[in-house]
């Protein structure tokens, strides 16, 4: 069992590293790793993944907070949607057969991969502020902000389509609670593509929100006995170490090439999950 412990630990470091570097969270690699790689029941895998998702998010978010990139207010507002979604997702997970969960997981992975490819093209885009319509709802929420860019200049931004953002955030919460992932990709889409929040702010705020979202469903998984202490310990510590390394590098460098590599790995894992789900071997 010591061997399994060490292999799990190393795998978790890698998952955490890639997860925080890409903003997608460790879960997207972790659940396939545990189920396909180790034959662990998907319910244990999801419970363990949720735990490590909280560790990843909280570890990385403390670095982002120092950087002043994230928007606490808009994050808090959107967390209403993600936490409600997460509770719904955890409730669905209780009734859904495991092979169906595996198939849904596969499709979400494919989607994450597509997003990673797309993001590698537009990661540095700043939305044209003249075109952002600052709606009444956004004004009421005082939803705007300032961040300091690479050159040290301060950039102001506004945002739009708060309702659309909320809707996508609810879906992100459901998927997080159902699959044990952070749903970082969807959260970034809601903020970046729909609400027109600058990409770096979206990524940082998404990372910040993932922990709260995962905590909402983790409480339910915990009390249902889906979270095993012996399995969780190497995974949680490994993911934490990996994510702290990833966050360091993210703040310093472009992550384009890693995104593309990550997307290829994810496509492969997605096909495996769907295939095993259809065969009902998961």
């Amino acid at each position: 069992m010591t061997t399994l412990f060490i292999v799990l630990f190393v795998g978790a470091i890698l998952a955490g590293f890639l997860g925080s570097l890409t903003g997608l969270g460790g879960g997207v690699v972790l659940v396939p790793l545990l189920t396909l790689g180790f034959g662990i029941d998907i319910r244990y895998a999801i419970g363990t993944s949720l735990i490590s998702v909280i560790a990843t998010s909280s570890g990385a978010a403390s670095a982002f907070l120092k950087d002043g990139l994230l928007n606490i207010r808009i994050g808090m507002f959107l967390e209403i949607a993600t936490t409600l979604g997460a509770i719904a997702g955890a409730a669905i997970a209780y009734y859904a057969p495991t092979h169906i969960i595996a198939i849904i997981f596969g499709f979400v992975l494919l989607y994450s991969a597509a997003v990673s490819f797309r993001k590698s093209k537009m990661a540095e885009d700043l939305h044209d502020q003249g075109k952002v319509k600052h709606g009444r709802f956004a004004q009421l929420l005082k939803a705007k902000g300032t961040f300091t860019d690479k050159t040290g200049g301060e950039v102001d931004y506004k945002l739009q389509h708060v309702g659309g953002g909320l809707a996508v955030m609810t879906v992100a919460g459901v998927l997080s609670g159902l699959l044990g992932i952070g749903s970082g990709a969807l959260k970034v889409i809601a903020m970046d593509s729909i609400m027109k929040i600058p990409f770096k702010v979206s990524t940082a705020t998404s990372n910040f929100m993932i922990g709260v979202t995962a905590a909402a469903s983790a409480g339910i998984y915990f009390s249902r006995g889906y979270i095993d202490p012996v399995l969780s310990m190497p995974v949680m510590i490994g993911v934490l170490v990996g994510s702290l390394l990833g966050a360091r590098i993210l703040l310093k460098s472009q992550t384009k090439s890693i995104r593309v590599l990550f997307a290829v790995v994810i496509v492969f894992l997605a096909i495996e999950m769907i295939y095993n789900g259809i065969l009902k071997s998961i």
Partner: protein, 131 residues
Amino acid sequence: MQKQRVDSGDRQMQNFLGSILRIGVLTSAFVVVAGAILYFMQHHSEAMDYTVFKSEPTRLRHVHTIVAEAMQLRSRAVIQFGLLILIATPVARVFFSLIGFILEKDKIYIVITSIVLCILCLSLFSGYLVF
């Protein structure tokens, strides 16, 4: 639209929330590692099998039994206790955000943050409810 700077109050709050998250994660990691060491001392030859799902025993699912067993240094309960600290960390972050918004007298965000906190508590105490 007038320019709005990140005022010093918000900056202070961000630093404070960052500390909360860091302290929570580090404490949790410390307790989990301590539990892991205890586990290897207590169960060194036990095989792990997670290929078949069987729910955790009730004593490792409820806060009060976990705390009671962790006090007796039973390794699994110590690890679960560490994991509970981790789950509580984002909740603490939301709680201290609420305090921050109360100090800033930001009414809209006091309401928003209270809603998030209620949803989280509903989940955390779901083990004690019929769910």
